[in-house]
């Protein structure tokens, strides 16, 4: 269902009034409830919120993998879309690595390219070039079960990066990485983002990371997930590592932490229902 173009909007994706309910009866869970969210072209938006608030659910909808409840609206590149139209147009990295156990590291990395129809040799060459930068040199021919948790996540990262699309949806992409590897991956991501003017929506649990990377940090409420707060991060780029100790940074961080704390607490106090 592609509708008319709205030239006024320069958003790559716009979600309006998106809700999603799971199950029914006693098991009914309202995961997200009336979310409005837009990511501008070339913008880097980070998304934080308490565990279980509906972030991954929102991503699945934005990637076209799941249907929202009726009533909401998704606009992609200015046009109205049914979710499924977005399949193949968004570079999506799910929370679980989902490596295929029967494929070697290198062949897991080129999965998206293969789907796109690239010749295998060419795709492999491309992936091979990225291995050292991701600390995976020498593991190209290993199988997923022979890797550590963080290494698996890095293979999934390469796989996502090789699927070059204007919009990237990254669900805790660095969750299993140590501090330094994470920093290096962040640099890599910022580099890709800036060079290719991609737009990125990025879920993280690390508030420092959210501020350090984002143009805006969006905070979600506890379940049912709504948008609680949308904070612009007006720190100049490139941002050096020590920006994390700057007053501006700390101010934003404390605002965010307060908001998150308030929401997280709900998950636990709701508990006694």
């Amino acid at each position: 269902m592609q509708g008319m173009t709205d030239p006024a909007s320069d958003a790559i994706i716009e979600l309006a009034g998106i809700s999603r309910t799971f199950g029914g009866g006693a098991d009914r869970v309202v995961a997200i409830d009336g979310v409005d969210l837009r990511v501008g072209r070339g913008e880097f938006v980070t998304l934080v919120g308490p565990s279980g608030c509906g972030k991954s659910t929102l991503f699945n909808i934005a990637a076209g993998l799941a249907d929202a409840d009726p009533g909401g609206e998704i606009r992609f590149g200015g046009q109205r879309h049914a979710g499924r139209d977005l399949l193949g147009r968004v570079s999506f990295m799910p929370q679980r690595d989902l490596l295929l156990p029967w494929r070697r590291v290198i062949d897991n990395a080129i999965l998206a390219l293969e789907v796109e129809g690239m010749r295998r040799a060419e795709a492999r060459a491309k992936a091979l070039a990225m291995m050292p930068e991701f600390g995976l040199a020498g593991f190209e021919r290993h199988y997923p079960h022979q890797l550590s948790g963080g290494m698996r996540q890095r293979v999934a990262l390469i796989r996502t990066f090789l699927f070059e699309r204007d919009l990237m949806l990254l669900d805790e992409p660095f969750g299993a990485l140590d501090a330094l590897t994470r920093t290096m991956m962040q640099r890599w991501l910022l580099d890709v983002w800036q060079r290719h003017r991609r737009s990125i929506l990025f879920i993280t649990h690390d508030v420092d990371e959210a501020i350090f990377l984002g143009d805006r940090v969006v905070v979600m409420t506890a379940r049912p997930g709504r948008i609680k707060m949308d904070v612009a991060v007006d720190l100049p780029r490139p941002r050096p590592a020590h920006v994390a100790t700057s007053a501006d940074f700390l101010r934003i961080k404390s605002t965010l932490l307060d908001a998150i704390e308030e929401e997280s607490m709900k998950s636990f106090t709701m508990a006694g229902h």
């Binding site: 990637a63 076209g64 399949l87 999506f92 029967w102 999965l111 796109e116 699927f163």
Partner: protein, 247 residues
Amino acid sequence: MNALSRIAYPIAGLLVIAFVWEASILVFRIPTFVLPSIPSIAVALWNDLPALLAGLRVTLYEAGSGYVLGGVAAIVLALVFVLMPLVERAAMPIVVAVNSVPVVAYAPVALVALGMGSASKIAMVALAAGFAVFVNAMNGLKAVDPAAVNLLRSFGAGPLRTIWTLRLPAALPAIASGLRVAIVRSIIIAIVAEMLGAYAGLGQIIYLATQQVDFLRVWAAIVLASAASMAIYGLFAWIDRRLVWWK
């Protein structure tokens, strides 16, 4: 497990069978027309070898053709069903019903419709072997992590690509298991079909020898059929082990 022990254990097992066989003939005084001694079967096998081998050739041709036909059809059908859930919904009851009729029940129909030649045997083998493969293939193709399916869809993969890249490799062990069970069954079905009416084949030889009270010949034919089935099963087991290479 090395190649030697892979051979050694079955051989040890066969020796045990042979021992029990001969011993029970002696201990229970089983007459030869009930259970002939192994050497006498060996002699009969040797004497009848040209005729038996000719029969085996026919049987293996029928079993092989039916197996390939049925196996391919089963996998294709399973793929179609996975690709088109609506078709699956609509056709599944029919497939189940058709498959639930024991192949032997189709035998008379097959014989009358397709004649006493190889065609009727091939059709029956295809049906029987196909079912074994089909059940396992459906099971394997469907038991795929839905999250992985979603990942591929996010890359723009269509249903065909999802099957080729994800479902088929994931289902390979199950399909291999089905193929392995089916191969032995194929040979048996070919023999059974031949017993009910055929111009040639081990089954026909067994049927005629039974009618003519030539029990040694019956046993010789069965031993030959079993040996051939074992050899083919061994080959498939070997291929099967290669198939699941990532574990």
